[in-house]
Symmetry: C2
Subunit: 574 residues, 2 copies
Amino acid sequence: MSKLDYKTLLVTDKFEGYEDAEKFKLWVPKIEKYRKDLDAGVLPEYKIDLPKPVDQLIEEQFNPLKYLYDENLLTPTEFEITDISGTELVKRISEGKYSAEEVFKAYAKRGTIAHQFTNCAMELFPEEGLKRAQELDAHFKSTGKTVGPLHGLPISLKEQMNYRGKITHGGYVSKLTNITSEHGLTTQILEDLGAVFYVRTNQPQTLMHLDSNNNITGLSKNPHNLLLSSGGSSSGEGSIVAFGGSSIGVGSDIGGSIRGPSAFSGCHGLRPTTRRVSLVGGVSGGAGQESVPAVAGPMARSIDDIDLWMKHYINDGKPWLNDAWSLPLLWRDVPKPEAKSLTIGVMYDDGYVKPTPPIQRGIKEVVKKLEAAGVKVVEFKPPKILQALDAVHKMYACDGNYMQRKLLAASGEPLVKLTKWSLNYGEGAKQFTVAENRELNMIRDELRTEYTKFLVENKIDFILSPTYNNVAPQSEACYNWSYTALWNILDFPTLVIQTGLYQDPTVDKWDEDHKSYQYRNKVEQLEHEIYDPEKFVGAPIGIQLSGRRYFDEEVVAAGKTIVEIFGTDLFKQY
Amino acid sequence: MSKLDYKTLLVTDKFEGYEDAEKFKLWVPKIEKYRKDLDAGVLPEYKIDLPKPVDQLIEEQFNPLKYLYDENLLTPTEFEITDISGTELVKRISEGKYSAEEVFKAYAKRGTIAHQFTNCAMELFPEEGLKRAQELDAHFKSTGKTVGPLHGLPISLKEQMNYRGKITHGGYVSKLTNITSEHGLTTQILEDLGAVFYVRTNQPQTLMHLDSNNNITGLSKNPHNLLLSSGGSSSGEGSIVAFGGSSIGVGSDIGGSIRGPSAFSGCHGLRPTTRRVSLVGGVSGGAGQESVPAVAGPMARSIDDIDLWMKHYINDGKPWLNDAWSLPLLWRDVPKPEAKSLTIGVMYDDGYVKPTPPIQRGIKEVVKKLEAAGVKVVEFKPPKILQALDAVHKMYACDGNYMQRKLLAASGEPLVKLTKWSLNYGEGAKQFTVAENRELNMIRDELRTEYTKFLVENKIDFILSPTYNNVAPQSEACYNWSYTALWNILDFPTLVIQTGLYQDPTVDKWDEDHKSYQYRNKVEQLEHEIYDPEKFVGAPIGIQLSGRRYFDEEVVAAGKTIVEIFGTDLFKQY
């Protein structure tokens, strides 16, 4: 039997009013200039000589993160600085143990290497970062005080967020002329809190892939296996954070865009409940869409850092003062719960796409660990999953892709593969009426209430689920969003936690039964046919932990307990 | 010059697909039955003999609230019970000073009289209320404890909220067969907290008038002047709460529907920020509409009671456990601010419809009082008011009235005058596309942020504004929503506060300049032509106090300070 081609699943393969080769030609010089500027940001003082050309490393499923350690590409001090949590790092800077400058240089080096291997950056400006770090040091020296609770912390930013004086394109070629005079609100808040910026990271065309391809700087790769995708749409954030090129990264998520890259690339990441982190000041095709709104959130190698970021961003940054969409809901200090106090519902299979062997094994192993630690584990079968997915898919495209078409057609740029896939969500190019949109909202609100009541009535604190039916897929072969998008339509805060487990081709094979497995739908077939144990070597296994709306603090606190139970330490992987 | 007719302002005067006289005939017996049941709820033990037929009282601009006191229609104890705050009342019940039964009877009597004069009720069930009060007393007697913080408090409910075992029609004839087995969530929470129900109150067809007419039980009248409207759409709540027939009432507001009836009828009322009070379980034409969502909120004769209701409803009721739309945002204890600490922006004229003489005078007088008390007062001219009004009007009808048509056409009932007016909001029957709806949302979000920043940057704590360009209008002659709807699109919590001032025909005349006044638009002309000083005698003057989103607590706390400055005491008006 020949494998399913994704094209057979498209509502339409015609994309009228988008591509225009003649128009696009005019933009090519701008792309070339942009790439040249990116290359110029790879400074000699930070870069390394790659062991082989990247194409060859990709083929070999090369693991750059392991290589970093094996070859001691950093000095012991640089390793020390880049392999502690941001929470510990700001403490040490504030105690004068490290200068912001030395911290910056260590991260800039590690981040530059990350980019050389994975193509995670869209813009590198380490000279500005260095200057900023030096200014912070001068301030600290003269006043004896930090400028804020994130003083000196290197934070990477998804490119779609406006950056003062720089181009912000959001993955759209047509926006390569968009230079804003101000930071986006979240960037500004982080800067005010003391963060140091030097890198803006990769994202796919339209921001609607769980992958990374675009016509500006292309694909990002997985830091554990260059054959694989770093995920998306916060694609570059996944690579750079997991590689340790920044202490904390900022992504955004409307269907899995923080969680996909976190799980795939090998870091933790929080998709907060909506309206806690501002997206004001940025490029996206979803402006004004509030049926399933996007939200920004942190990605890091330590759950403490997720907490640190959320706490200071919200409580000190007060985004609601400058963005009426944001809620004045302070970040509460919630203590790490006892394992024995927790009841966790586990979703083994969402009923839409059954997980592949590494995910099946991962879930089983973590359930064992949780139970051994005293957590009460119950099985959770998500109610009305097909209805939820149908509604959320329609929501994504129910403006008939009006805004996407506008942003894409303005340059006539070619549509990359997964853009076609996501433009076909729901009913593709069909413009819904307002009444139809409202019906989707009603379905959504009923689902939210049903799930909430279910958790409350059954005294289930959290749901643990796969992040995706597979580990990191190969580039441009990630189709199913069901595991992540469910939490978007429900708007449940969801934390991706690394299990400390990795795909292992010797054990993660389909079992015999799978030969006679009856696919429940074509997406499942497509996703299952993709899985070849030999092609996903060493991919991290990250799971999701979800809680009720606005109980982000509880989710993060429980995440700390669970990471301890798992024994995951992302600072000591190789 | 002949006066403007409202029909000249309609986008269309054709309403295809609505009315159907033949179909409606089948519903008439259901309406008759419903009215008969309502009449049967006027019990002999509570009713009075009206001094004259209501039609005649209307013509005479009769003041039933003054009559209540002048004629001593209640016993001294009944006056004592019904003329203290709910806050004091629950305290006294919990101390055993009053039984729930005697409290109930006093309110049932006063409420029945309110209904006899104003037609505020849609459903009266005092026998059930009495039984409930007796049960509460029995519980208190046997346990020594109240069932909750609102134990024994008579609370009136806008009819649209589902009530266990009863019809809920929301003003739509087609819903006269809608009997729900459960309370709406807010009703259930109030019941769980100890409230006593015996009356469900009037609202207009479609819930989209600042007035009260419908084909089921007709108009509600103003308790200070029967010629005037009680406002709407929480029409009956305005009458019954201002008259003292319930201690606290529950209304809902999408364009002014709590604030109009509060201001017009003579009580205080809070339109909270959205998502703090649940509307789950009820009838409305706005389901799934979230561009400018409706919100429920309390109406009362004391600001303390607004605070009491919000605090216990939110903190004890926890609506988010059963409604994922509601935010787990606890009600904060905010102390009453010092007058001297306040900076208040005053909107004298919104730039769309200039206020009539009583409102002009009211604002001037309260500004004097505020300044005398040490409040810093600055003028506030609302930015982009026309853009805001254009957007909010479009939002109301941007489903092309699909849902309204569905609900109205199901019975074929005749469209009452102000239904035609509101069906013409925005672009009337035009179905907007999702993309167009999203553009409206973007405009809204920019406005919200602009207003928020303006307040923050100018250190303005609150905005004080008229509730409407006039005092309570005559029935079915309330067209302009600009003063209230602005705060809906901004989603700023807004408290209507009674100034303790009333229209006075001897002073509230147009000044000479008004003869040469150039109307800025036709709605202004229509509204100004309506104002004849002799026809609004004694109408209360209520103003609005607005604060930033989710600063409901601060608005209510400042409201207490301001009421003290005004010297308003709604328990001692006549």
